[in-house]
Symmetry: C2
Subunit: 136 residues, 2 copies
């Protein structure tokens, strides 16, 4: 079984966790509760949120009653930004196989895969945290 679109478990956790926090504003949430609500690995979620914290998306507070809360402008953060923090920067227009030199004259996929990558990119870019905190 294979997934055509490349989203890591970590990026999924980041998105879902952030949505929960956004919905729960202005109260903060800690990793334990988040993991329970998401039915996810607590340790993994913790690591993911360390990255989000370093990247400035969330503010972390240690100690009892600690946890994570959204930073000021994070409501309007896009999934693309979250995705790139976790899975790495996306570069469009490159060879879909990551090659610099191709054996063939023209790409076997014409520009179909670049077209689709751009589609994914734009979809990721359209999705904002604020969309969800209202939605549910």
């Amino acid at each position: 079984m294979s997934n055509l679109i490349n989203i890591s478990e970590a990026a999924s956790l980041a998105l879902h966790g952030l949505v929960l926090i956004a919905k729960n504003q202005p109260l903060r949430m800690n990793v334990k509760v988040l993991a329970e609500e998401l039915n996810a690995s607590q340790t993994h979620l913790a690591k993911v949120f360390q990255k989000l914290s370093k990247a400035g998306l969330v503010k972390s507070l240690r100690g009892p009653a600690g946890g994570f809360e959204l930073n000021n402008l994070a409501e309007d953060i896009t999934f693309l930004e979250i995705y790139e923090i976790i899975d790495g920067k996306v570069t469009l227009g490159a060879c879909p196989f990551g090659k610099i030199h191709c054996v063939f004259q023209s790409c076997m996929f014409d520009n179909e895969l670049n077209r689709i990558s751009t589609d994914i990119y734009n979809t990721f870019k359209q999705i904002k945290l604020s969309d969800f905190s209202k939605k549910e």
Copy 2:
């Protein structure tokens, strides 16, 4: 750096190798030559072609002057078939994160990701080996 569409090096080798063989018909090609032309790992290519051979896409012949050649109908093979042999069967319509139960009422991506997955799927399905053997 991250690739939005999920294609393994192995699947890439399979496709590119098969195209070379298709172009070179009716002569067969061996792993060494293929690897040189593709600038790729000989051992990896060999493993990939073992899979293709088992799956019936190519016929293998051992010994000197041996190598691989397309099976009768392989000219009209689609990239989807190649992809699934190497990277595994694709299932459309499932949760983009591989979850069975979601915490949220509606999918955060609506059906955007399923739409795109179907797009990729159909693109993979349209691409035939025969398209390339003529093209170049």
